[in-house]
Symmetry: C2
Subunit: 200 residues, 2 copies
């Protein structure tokens, strides 16, 4: 039986290493690559290498950055008294798209998860504590881990750890999404919405 | 608002150029790339460049190949009296996986499509006719374009063109898939199955 030519087989193999891409999709993508403009393919290859080579985690907040410290940590106009703690770099971008938060961030790169065997020492908590010790400007830690059980566990762990230092610890509100129908909301979300109701 | 660091933004842009990959998936893939082994990323970049640089269409059959002519056209043990005509290189691999066809191939790189404005001169037909003129070893052309309306149109066009030269032209059988239920088959497939019924 004839096999795919080696360069094509290797490209298919590379595509299958991406999440959610199986043999069929990888083959389709590889053939598509052959039909792409030469420039686009060259830029694709360059951007793969450059992303891997030029991006690092900020030594202060752990967010992905080209320069260390990252532009957010360096920005004197931002409110350095607030640190918002997120699970991953993508969450920083989600918060920034909101345009309404002007404090700093801290990226945990994971959550405490007994099921996955991830303990507090496996995520970026030590550097958060170091930050708080070094910098007494910080007045509030806003915990923005996801509303999953692991996210809640991590939030609880952090609160217990930080509160004794006299720093205010808050958690993002849970409740109905804006525009959501009550009869489509799940029980946990409804429970959180009732629990966190506000006076009008 | 903070933007993604440039190397990451460029990588996301490259991923969005692939078919079926939007902004969200591209972002997910780009972040995943950052977490990949350095070697895997380097190999990915290399295979992109190599696939684009080292692969060409065989000057005889049009199939994708590293060497020209391709291994199938060069293979003296294959039956050079049969040419199976397909729409795209992927179809050659599908036929080869069957292990039962030992003739040659011809890849059209498309079909005649009045809707898309693709005429006979836009696909790899001229080189097929040249092949037939030069090589009187060919006894049969098996047309294996898809069973779509464009595929049927192309098949009809080729048959009309080749038959006068005294070469046998055949078409792959259409009918029920092996293992298919009759009550789930569409009308056209059932019609083709009845039309092409064989004596037992």
């Amino acid at each position: 039986m004839i096999q795919y030519p080696e360069p094509l087989a290797k490209l298919i193999e590379s595509y299958t290493k991406l999440p959610g891409i199986g043999q069929k999709t990888a083959t389709r993508l590889a053939f598509y690559t052959l039909s792409m403009q030469e420039d686009d393919v060259t830029n694709f290859a360059k951007s793969l290498l450059s992303a891997k080579r030029d991006l690092h985690n900020c030594s202060i907040c752990g967010n992905i950055t080209e320069d260390d410290p990252c532009p957010i940590c360096r920005d004197k106009t931002r409110d350095h008294s607030q640190i918002l703690v997120v699970e991953q770099s993508q969450d920083v971008m989600a918060m920034e798209r909101m345009h309404e938060y002007h404090g700093l961030y801290h990226v945990l790169h994971g959550v405490i998860s007994p099921v996955a065997g991830t303990g507090p020492e496996d995520i970026n908590i030590t550097s958060l504590l170091k930050r708080l010790k070094k910098d007494d400007e910080v007045k509030e830690i806003i915990i923005a881990t996801n509303a999953s059980s692991d996210g809640e566990l991590t939030a609880g762990y952090l609160a217990k750890l930080i509160k004794p230092a006299g720093i205010k610890v808050t958690r993002l509100a849970h409740g109905l999404s804006v525009g959501a129908d009550i009869d489509y909301a799940d029980e946990m979300t409804l429970f959180k919405a009732v629990q966190g109701r506000t006076e009008m």
